[in-house]
Amino acid sequence: MSLAKRIIPCLDVDNGRVVKGVQFVDIRDAGDPVEIARQYDAHGADEITFLDITASSQERETMVHVVEQVAGEVFIPLTVGGGIRTVADIRRMLNAGADKVAINTAAVSRPEFVAEAAERFGSQCIVVALDAKRVSKEGEPLRWEVFTHGGRRETGLDAVAWSQRMVANGAGEILLTSMDRDGTKQGFDVELTRAISDASGVPVIASGGVGNLQHLVDGVQLGRADAVLAASIFHFGEYTIEEAKDYMAAQGIEVRR
Protein backbone atom coordinates (compact mmCIF):
# COMPACT_ATOMS: atom_id res chain seq x y z
CA MET A 1 0.00 0.00 0.00
CA SER A 2 1.25 3.48 -0.74
CA LEU A 3 -0.06 7.01 -0.55
CA ALA A 4 -3.49 7.21 -2.20
CA LYS A 5 -4.34 9.72 -4.89
CA ARG A 6 -7.08 11.93 -3.52
CA ILE A 7 -10.48 12.83 -4.93
CA ILE A 8 -11.70 16.21 -3.74
CA PRO A 9 -15.20 17.52 -4.44
CA CYS A 10 -15.34 21.31 -4.49
CA LEU A 11 -18.32 23.33 -3.32
CA ASP A 12 -18.86 26.98 -4.23
CA VAL A 13 -20.50 28.72 -1.30
CA ASP A 14 -22.24 32.09 -1.53
CA ASN A 15 -23.35 33.62 1.74
CA GLY A 16 -23.56 30.24 3.43
CA ARG A 17 -25.37 28.38 0.65
CA VAL A 18 -23.96 26.03 -1.96
CA VAL A 19 -24.35 27.68 -5.34
CA LYS A 20 -26.58 25.83 -7.81
CA GLY A 21 -26.92 23.03 -5.27
CA VAL A 22 -26.28 19.38 -5.84
CA GLN A 23 -28.49 16.72 -7.33
CA PHE A 24 -27.26 13.40 -6.07
CA VAL A 25 -29.22 10.98 -3.95
CA ASP A 26 -30.44 11.41 -0.41
CA ILE A 27 -30.16 15.18 -0.26
CA ARG A 28 -33.03 16.99 1.40
CA ASP A 29 -31.58 20.47 1.12
CA ALA A 30 -29.53 20.82 -2.06
CA GLY A 31 -27.98 24.09 -0.87
CA ASP A 32 -26.95 23.09 2.62
CA PRO A 33 -23.16 22.80 2.78
CA VAL A 34 -23.26 20.73 5.94
CA GLU A 35 -25.57 18.11 4.54
CA ILE A 36 -23.70 17.98 1.24
CA ALA A 37 -20.36 17.62 3.00
CA ARG A 38 -21.79 14.82 5.12
CA GLN A 39 -22.94 13.01 2.00
CA TYR A 40 -19.62 13.40 0.23
CA ASP A 41 -17.86 12.10 3.33
CA ALA A 42 -20.16 9.07 3.43
CA HIS A 43 -19.47 8.45 -0.26
CA GLY A 44 -15.71 8.37 0.27
CA ALA A 45 -14.44 11.87 -0.56
CA ASP A 46 -10.85 12.18 0.62
CA GLU A 47 -11.12 15.87 1.42
CA ILE A 48 -13.61 18.64 0.76
CA THR A 49 -12.81 22.09 -0.58
CA PHE A 50 -15.07 25.08 -0.06
CA LEU A 51 -14.66 28.13 -2.23
CA ASP A 52 -16.29 31.16 -0.69
CA ILE A 53 -17.59 33.29 -3.53
CA THR A 54 -19.48 35.68 -1.27
CA ALA A 55 -19.09 39.12 -2.77
CA SER A 56 -19.49 41.34 0.26
CA SER A 57 -16.96 41.15 3.02
CA GLN A 58 -19.64 41.66 5.70
CA GLU A 59 -21.10 38.30 4.82
CA ARG A 60 -17.77 36.51 5.02
CA GLU A 61 -18.52 35.60 8.60
CA THR A 62 -21.15 33.14 7.39
CA MET A 63 -18.37 31.02 5.89
CA VAL A 64 -16.79 30.70 9.33
CA HIS A 65 -20.05 29.27 10.65
CA VAL A 66 -20.30 26.88 7.72
CA VAL A 67 -16.81 25.57 8.46
CA GLU A 68 -17.60 25.24 12.16
CA GLN A 69 -20.70 23.20 11.46
CA VAL A 70 -19.07 20.97 8.87
CA ALA A 71 -15.98 20.37 11.00
CA GLY A 72 -18.20 19.32 13.87
CA GLU A 73 -19.62 16.43 11.87
CA VAL A 74 -17.28 15.55 9.06
CA PHE A 75 -13.92 14.14 10.08
CA ILE A 76 -11.88 14.46 6.90
CA PRO A 77 -9.67 17.37 5.85
CA LEU A 78 -11.37 20.62 4.88
CA THR A 79 -9.86 23.36 2.72
CA VAL A 80 -11.32 26.84 2.47
CA GLY A 81 -10.52 29.30 -0.29
CA GLY A 82 -11.88 32.66 -1.38
CA GLY A 83 -11.22 35.96 0.31
CA ILE A 84 -8.21 34.79 2.31
CA ARG A 85 -6.13 37.96 2.51
CA THR A 86 -4.74 38.33 6.00
CA VAL A 87 -3.20 36.27 8.77
CA ALA A 88 -6.39 36.99 10.74
CA ASP A 89 -8.50 35.46 7.94
CA ILE A 90 -6.41 32.30 8.12
CA ARG A 91 -6.53 32.07 11.89
CA ARG A 92 -10.32 32.46 11.83
CA MET A 93 -10.75 29.61 9.33
CA LEU A 94 -8.31 27.27 11.08
CA ASN A 95 -9.92 27.95 14.45
CA ALA A 96 -13.30 27.19 12.90
CA GLY A 97 -12.02 23.74 11.90
CA ALA A 98 -10.50 24.17 8.44
CA ASP A 99 -7.28 22.23 7.94
CA LYS A 100 -5.98 24.25 5.04
CA VAL A 101 -6.62 27.58 3.40
CA ALA A 102 -6.21 28.33 -0.29
CA ILE A 103 -4.65 31.70 -1.09
CA ASN A 104 -5.15 33.04 -4.58
CA THR A 105 -5.26 36.75 -5.43
CA ALA A 106 -3.54 37.81 -2.23
CA ALA A 107 -0.52 35.66 -3.13
CA VAL A 108 -0.13 37.54 -6.40
CA SER A 109 -0.66 41.00 -4.99
CA ARG A 110 1.63 40.32 -2.03
CA PRO A 111 3.81 37.19 -2.38
CA GLU A 112 5.33 37.67 1.09
CA PHE A 113 1.88 37.03 2.54
CA VAL A 114 2.37 33.35 1.72
CA ALA A 115 5.70 33.37 3.57
CA GLU A 116 4.12 35.07 6.60
CA ALA A 117 1.26 32.59 6.60
CA ALA A 118 3.54 29.55 6.34
CA GLU A 119 5.82 30.93 9.02
CA ARG A 120 2.91 31.46 11.38
CA PHE A 121 0.76 28.38 10.70
CA GLY A 122 3.06 25.93 8.95
CA SER A 123 3.31 24.98 5.29
CA GLN A 124 0.96 22.02 5.79
CA CYS A 125 -2.06 24.33 5.86
CA ILE A 126 -1.06 26.81 3.17
CA VAL A 127 -2.38 25.97 -0.28
CA VAL A 128 -1.62 28.38 -3.11
CA ALA A 129 -4.40 28.45 -5.68
CA LEU A 130 -2.85 29.05 -9.07
CA ASP A 131 -5.07 29.91 -12.04
CA ALA A 132 -3.15 29.48 -15.27
CA LYS A 133 -3.81 30.11 -18.95
CA ARG A 134 -1.85 28.82 -21.89
CA VAL A 135 -0.10 31.76 -23.62
CA SER A 136 2.25 29.96 -26.02
CA LYS A 137 1.26 29.93 -29.65
CA GLU A 138 0.91 26.85 -31.81
CA GLY A 139 4.37 25.37 -32.44
CA GLU A 140 6.04 27.35 -29.63
CA PRO A 141 7.33 25.67 -26.46
CA LEU A 142 4.43 25.37 -24.03
CA ARG A 143 4.06 28.27 -21.65
CA TRP A 144 1.39 29.32 -19.17
CA GLU A 145 0.82 32.51 -17.24
CA VAL A 146 -0.89 33.22 -13.94
CA PHE A 147 -4.26 34.94 -14.06
CA THR A 148 -6.39 36.32 -11.27
CA HIS A 149 -10.02 37.39 -10.86
CA GLY A 150 -11.44 34.25 -12.40
CA GLY A 151 -9.10 34.39 -15.38
CA ARG A 152 -9.95 37.96 -16.34
CA ARG A 153 -6.82 39.68 -15.12
CA GLU A 154 -3.40 38.80 -16.45
CA THR A 155 -0.31 39.10 -14.29
CA GLY A 156 2.48 38.35 -16.77
CA LEU A 157 3.87 35.80 -14.31
CA ASP A 158 5.12 32.50 -15.71
CA ALA A 159 3.06 29.77 -14.03
CA VAL A 160 5.90 27.27 -13.54
CA ALA A 161 8.28 29.85 -12.09
CA TRP A 162 5.48 31.21 -9.95
CA SER A 163 4.73 27.78 -8.48
CA GLN A 164 8.39 27.40 -7.53
CA ARG A 165 8.44 30.83 -5.95
CA MET A 166 5.34 30.02 -3.92
CA VAL A 167 6.87 26.76 -2.70
CA ALA A 168 10.03 28.64 -1.75
CA ASN A 169 7.78 30.99 0.23
CA GLY A 170 6.31 28.03 2.09
CA ALA A 171 3.29 26.81 0.15
CA GLY A 172 2.65 23.19 1.10
CA GLU A 173 0.36 22.36 -1.79
CA ILE A 174 -0.76 23.86 -5.10
CA LEU A 175 -4.35 23.94 -6.27
CA LEU A 176 -3.85 24.30 -10.00
CA THR A 177 -6.74 25.38 -12.20
CA SER A 178 -6.53 25.59 -15.96
CA MET A 179 -8.57 28.64 -16.93
CA ASP A 180 -8.65 27.32 -20.51
CA ARG A 181 -10.36 24.13 -19.40
CA ASP A 182 -12.44 25.27 -16.44
CA GLY A 183 -16.09 24.58 -17.18
CA THR A 184 -15.42 22.96 -20.57
CA LYS A 185 -15.66 19.28 -19.52
CA GLN A 186 -12.78 18.56 -21.93
CA GLY A 187 -10.43 17.27 -19.25
CA PHE A 188 -7.53 18.77 -17.33
CA ASP A 189 -4.72 20.54 -19.13
CA VAL A 190 -2.41 17.61 -18.41
CA GLU A 191 0.69 19.30 -19.85
CA LEU A 192 0.18 22.19 -17.45
CA THR A 193 -0.45 19.83 -14.55
CA ARG A 194 2.66 17.83 -15.31
CA ALA A 195 4.84 20.92 -15.72
CA ILE A 196 3.78 22.28 -12.33
CA SER A 197 3.85 18.91 -10.59
CA ASP A 198 7.38 18.16 -11.79
CA ALA A 199 8.70 21.63 -11.06
CA SER A 200 7.19 22.33 -7.66
CA GLY A 201 8.03 19.28 -5.51
CA VAL A 202 4.88 19.70 -3.39
CA PRO A 203 1.53 17.97 -3.89
CA VAL A 204 -0.51 19.35 -6.79
CA ILE A 205 -4.29 19.24 -7.00
CA ALA A 206 -5.46 19.29 -10.61
CA SER A 207 -8.59 21.31 -11.29
CA GLY A 208 -10.61 22.58 -14.22
CA GLY A 209 -12.27 20.68 -17.02
CA VAL A 210 -13.32 17.30 -15.65
CA GLY A 211 -16.13 15.82 -17.74
CA ASN A 212 -15.68 12.10 -17.23
CA LEU A 213 -13.79 9.57 -15.15
CA GLN A 214 -11.01 9.04 -17.68
CA HIS A 215 -10.14 12.70 -17.18
CA LEU A 216 -9.42 11.96 -13.51
CA VAL A 217 -7.15 9.10 -14.54
CA ASP A 218 -5.36 11.29 -17.08
CA GLY A 219 -4.83 13.99 -14.46
CA VAL A 220 -2.97 11.49 -12.30
CA GLN A 221 -1.22 9.35 -14.91
CA LEU A 222 -0.38 11.97 -17.54
CA GLY A 223 -0.46 15.09 -15.39
CA ARG A 224 1.18 13.46 -12.34
CA ALA A 225 -1.34 15.15 -10.08
CA ASP A 226 -1.43 14.04 -6.45
CA ALA A 227 -5.11 14.85 -6.13
CA VAL A 228 -7.97 15.65 -8.47
CA LEU A 229 -10.64 18.21 -7.80
CA ALA A 230 -14.02 18.27 -9.49
CA ALA A 231 -17.37 19.89 -8.97
CA SER A 232 -20.11 19.38 -11.50
CA ILE A 233 -19.57 15.69 -12.34
CA PHE A 234 -20.19 14.87 -8.71
CA HIS A 235 -22.73 17.56 -7.84
CA PHE A 236 -25.08 16.66 -10.65
CA GLY A 237 -24.92 12.97 -9.95
CA GLU A 238 -23.21 12.02 -13.20
CA TYR A 239 -20.80 9.94 -11.16
CA THR A 240 -20.42 9.09 -7.52
CA ILE A 241 -17.12 9.30 -5.70
CA GLU A 242 -17.23 5.50 -5.39
CA GLU A 243 -17.56 5.09 -9.14
CA ALA A 244 -14.66 7.45 -9.65
CA LYS A 245 -12.51 5.44 -7.24
CA ASP A 246 -13.51 2.13 -8.82
CA TYR A 247 -12.59 3.47 -12.23
CA MET A 248 -9.26 4.87 -11.09
CA ALA A 249 -8.40 1.68 -9.20
CA ALA A 250 -9.17 -0.39 -12.31
CA GLN A 251 -6.57 1.73 -14.15
CA GLY A 252 -3.97 0.93 -11.53
CA ILE A 253 -4.25 4.08 -9.44
CA GLU A 254 -4.05 3.68 -5.68
CA VAL A 255 -7.15 5.13 -3.98
CA ARG A 256 -8.61 5.00 -0.48
CA ARG A 257 -11.64 2.73 -0.11
Binding site: R6, D41, F75, I76, G97, G122, Q124, G201, D226
Partner: protein, 212 residues
Amino acid sequence: MTVIAVVDYGMGNLRSVRKALEHVGNGAVVEVTSAPERILRADRVVLPGVGAIGDCMNELHRLELVEALREAAGSKPFLGVCLGMQALLDFSEENQGVDCLGVLPGKARRFPAELTTDAGLKVPHMGWNGVLQQGRHPLWRGIADNSRFYFVHSYYVEPAEAALAAGVTRYGFDFAAVVARGNVFATQFHPEKSQRAGLDLLANFVRWDGSV
Protein backbone atom coordinates in the same frame (compact mmCIF):
# COMPACT_ATOMS: atom_id res chain seq x y z
CA MET B 1 -17.10 10.70 33.92
CA THR B 2 -13.76 10.84 32.18
CA VAL B 3 -12.19 14.25 31.60
CA ILE B 4 -9.95 14.64 28.57
CA ALA B 5 -7.59 17.62 28.48
CA VAL B 6 -6.72 18.80 24.98
CA VAL B 7 -3.59 20.89 25.37
CA ASP B 8 -3.96 24.37 23.87
CA TYR B 9 -0.67 26.08 23.18
CA GLY B 10 -1.94 28.28 20.39
CA MET B 11 -1.15 25.97 17.49
CA GLY B 12 -3.39 23.60 15.68
CA ASN B 13 -6.93 22.77 14.83
CA LEU B 14 -8.07 22.22 18.38
CA ARG B 15 -11.69 22.50 17.45
CA SER B 16 -11.44 19.46 15.16
CA VAL B 17 -9.72 17.43 17.86
CA ARG B 18 -12.29 18.44 20.46
CA LYS B 19 -15.23 17.74 18.15
CA ALA B 20 -13.90 14.34 17.17
CA LEU B 21 -13.34 13.38 20.81
CA GLU B 22 -16.83 14.56 21.73
CA HIS B 23 -18.23 12.65 18.78
CA VAL B 24 -16.84 9.34 20.08
CA GLY B 25 -16.53 10.24 23.75
CA ASN B 26 -19.81 8.84 24.99
CA GLY B 27 -20.29 11.73 27.41
CA ALA B 28 -16.61 12.36 28.12
CA VAL B 29 -15.84 15.94 29.10
CA VAL B 30 -13.37 17.49 26.68
CA GLU B 31 -11.50 20.50 28.04
CA VAL B 32 -9.36 22.59 25.72
CA THR B 33 -6.88 24.09 28.13
CA SER B 34 -3.46 25.67 28.61
CA ALA B 35 -3.55 25.41 32.41
CA PRO B 36 -0.99 22.97 33.85
CA GLU B 37 -3.22 22.12 36.83
CA ARG B 38 -6.06 21.10 34.54
CA ILE B 39 -3.76 18.84 32.58
CA LEU B 40 -2.59 17.25 35.82
CA ARG B 41 -6.16 16.83 37.04
CA ALA B 42 -7.56 15.35 33.79
CA ASP B 43 -8.02 11.60 33.38
CA ARG B 44 -6.37 11.60 29.99
CA VAL B 45 -4.45 14.07 27.86
CA VAL B 46 -4.22 14.82 24.15
CA LEU B 47 -1.30 16.86 22.83
CA PRO B 48 -2.27 17.92 19.29
CA GLY B 49 -0.49 20.31 17.02
CA VAL B 50 0.35 21.51 13.58
CA GLY B 51 3.01 23.95 12.48
CA ALA B 52 6.68 24.20 13.37
CA ILE B 53 8.40 22.60 16.36
CA GLY B 54 10.33 25.74 17.37
CA ASP B 55 7.14 27.72 18.01
CA CYS B 56 5.57 24.69 19.66
CA MET B 57 8.34 24.23 22.23
CA ASN B 58 8.61 27.98 22.82
CA GLU B 59 4.93 28.12 23.64
CA LEU B 60 5.04 25.04 25.87
CA HIS B 61 7.85 26.67 27.84
CA ARG B 62 6.20 30.08 27.95
CA LEU B 63 2.94 28.59 29.22
CA GLU B 64 4.90 26.51 31.77
CA LEU B 65 3.41 23.31 30.41
CA VAL B 66 6.60 21.28 30.08
CA GLU B 67 6.64 19.76 33.56
CA ALA B 68 2.90 19.09 33.57
CA LEU B 69 3.14 17.32 30.22
CA ARG B 70 6.09 15.20 31.35
CA GLU B 71 4.22 14.25 34.49
CA ALA B 72 0.99 13.45 32.61
CA ALA B 73 2.93 11.40 30.05
CA GLY B 74 4.37 9.40 32.92
CA SER B 75 1.08 8.68 34.64
CA LYS B 76 -2.09 8.65 32.51
CA PRO B 77 -3.39 7.76 29.05
CA PHE B 78 -1.64 10.23 26.79
CA LEU B 79 -2.12 10.76 23.05
CA GLY B 80 0.23 12.83 20.93
CA VAL B 81 -0.85 13.83 17.43
CA CYS B 82 1.37 14.97 14.55
CA LEU B 83 3.52 17.82 15.90
CA GLY B 84 2.36 16.70 19.35
CA MET B 85 3.98 13.34 18.61
CA GLN B 86 7.25 14.93 17.52
CA ALA B 87 7.25 17.13 20.64
CA LEU B 88 7.34 14.00 22.82
CA LEU B 89 10.75 12.98 21.46
CA ASP B 90 14.18 14.11 22.60
CA PHE B 91 14.95 16.31 19.64
CA SER B 92 13.79 17.61 16.26
CA GLU B 93 15.96 18.63 13.33
CA GLU B 94 13.40 21.29 12.37
CA ASN B 95 14.17 25.00 12.95
CA GLN B 96 17.96 24.37 13.10
CA GLY B 97 17.46 21.80 15.87
CA VAL B 98 15.11 21.98 18.84
CA ASP B 99 15.19 20.10 22.15
CA CYS B 100 11.79 18.56 22.82
CA LEU B 101 10.06 16.99 25.82
CA GLY B 102 12.16 13.84 25.98
CA VAL B 103 9.25 11.61 26.95
CA LEU B 104 10.21 9.03 24.31
CA PRO B 105 13.74 8.42 23.02
CA GLY B 106 14.22 9.43 19.42
CA LYS B 107 14.18 12.37 17.08
CA ALA B 108 12.24 13.97 14.25
CA ARG B 109 14.03 14.18 10.92
CA ARG B 110 13.27 15.89 7.63
CA PHE B 111 12.25 13.66 4.74
CA PRO B 112 15.41 13.45 2.61
CA ALA B 113 15.55 15.54 -0.57
CA GLU B 114 16.31 12.38 -2.57
CA LEU B 115 12.76 11.27 -1.90
CA THR B 116 11.64 13.94 -4.37
CA THR B 117 14.64 14.06 -6.70
CA ASP B 118 15.07 10.28 -7.06
CA ALA B 119 11.69 8.76 -6.25
CA GLY B 120 9.44 11.63 -7.35
CA LEU B 121 7.66 11.63 -4.00
CA LYS B 122 6.31 14.96 -2.82
CA VAL B 123 7.09 16.59 0.50
CA PRO B 124 4.99 17.22 2.56
CA HIS B 125 3.77 13.63 2.71
CA MET B 126 0.13 14.59 2.37
CA GLY B 127 -2.92 12.36 2.15
CA TRP B 128 -4.18 8.91 3.06
CA ASN B 129 -1.58 6.22 3.61
CA GLY B 130 -1.72 2.74 5.15
CA VAL B 131 -0.43 2.00 8.64
CA LEU B 132 0.92 -1.48 9.37
CA GLN B 133 0.23 -2.29 12.99
CA GLN B 134 3.28 -3.61 14.82
CA GLY B 135 1.84 -6.07 17.29
CA ARG B 136 -1.30 -5.71 19.34
CA HIS B 137 -2.24 -2.58 21.22
CA PRO B 138 -5.52 -1.56 22.91
CA LEU B 139 -5.72 1.47 20.61
CA TRP B 140 -5.71 -0.74 17.51
CA ARG B 141 -8.71 -2.71 18.71
CA GLY B 142 -11.31 -3.16 15.97
CA ILE B 143 -9.19 -1.32 13.37
CA ALA B 144 -8.17 -3.39 10.35
CA ASP B 145 -4.44 -3.70 9.82
CA ASN B 146 -3.14 -1.45 7.04
CA SER B 147 -6.10 0.93 7.38
CA ARG B 148 -5.49 4.31 5.79
CA PHE B 149 -5.08 7.44 7.91
CA TYR B 150 -4.62 11.08 6.92
CA PHE B 151 -1.05 12.40 7.07
CA VAL B 152 0.41 15.82 6.46
CA HIS B 153 4.02 16.31 7.52
CA SER B 154 7.53 17.06 6.26
CA TYR B 155 9.38 15.59 9.25
CA TYR B 156 9.14 12.00 10.42
CA VAL B 157 9.93 10.28 13.68
CA GLU B 158 12.93 8.02 14.13
CA PRO B 159 12.57 6.30 17.52
CA ALA B 160 15.79 5.30 19.27
CA GLU B 161 14.45 1.76 19.73
CA ALA B 162 12.67 -0.02 16.90
CA ALA B 163 10.33 -1.61 19.43
CA LEU B 164 8.72 1.79 20.09
CA ALA B 165 7.12 1.80 16.63
CA ALA B 166 3.53 0.61 17.07
CA GLY B 167 2.68 1.44 13.47
CA VAL B 168 4.76 1.72 10.32
CA THR B 169 4.04 3.52 7.06
CA ARG B 170 5.90 3.36 3.79
CA TYR B 171 6.72 6.55 1.91
CA GLY B 172 9.84 5.78 -0.08
CA PHE B 173 11.05 4.00 3.06
CA ASP B 174 9.39 2.70 6.22
CA PHE B 175 8.95 5.21 9.02
CA ALA B 176 7.24 5.12 12.43
CA ALA B 177 3.69 6.37 11.95
CA VAL B 178 2.98 5.54 15.60
CA VAL B 179 5.26 5.36 18.59
CA ALA B 180 3.97 3.94 21.85
CA ARG B 181 5.28 2.99 25.24
CA GLY B 182 3.24 2.22 28.35
CA ASN B 183 0.51 4.84 28.71
CA VAL B 184 1.77 6.97 25.80
CA PHE B 185 0.54 6.55 22.23
CA ALA B 186 1.52 9.04 19.56
CA THR B 187 0.50 9.22 15.93
CA GLN B 188 2.07 11.06 13.01
CA PHE B 189 -1.30 10.98 11.23
CA HIS B 190 -4.37 12.94 12.28
CA PRO B 191 -6.96 10.56 13.77
CA GLU B 192 -9.38 13.48 14.04
CA LYS B 193 -9.24 13.80 10.24
CA SER B 194 -9.09 10.11 9.36
CA GLN B 195 -12.77 9.36 9.16
CA ARG B 196 -13.91 5.96 10.49
CA ALA B 197 -10.51 4.49 11.33
CA GLY B 198 -9.46 7.68 13.08
CA LEU B 199 -12.65 7.95 15.08
CA ASP B 200 -12.31 4.30 16.11
CA LEU B 201 -8.80 4.98 17.34
CA LEU B 202 -10.01 7.99 19.35
CA ALA B 203 -12.87 5.92 20.78
CA ASN B 204 -10.32 3.33 21.88
CA PHE B 205 -8.25 6.07 23.48
CA VAL B 206 -11.23 7.40 25.44
CA ARG B 207 -11.77 3.90 26.88
CA TRP B 208 -8.10 3.07 27.41
CA ASP B 209 -6.79 2.63 30.94
CA GLY B 210 -3.20 3.19 29.83
CA SER B 211 -2.05 -0.39 30.15
CA VAL B 212 -0.86 -2.50 27.23
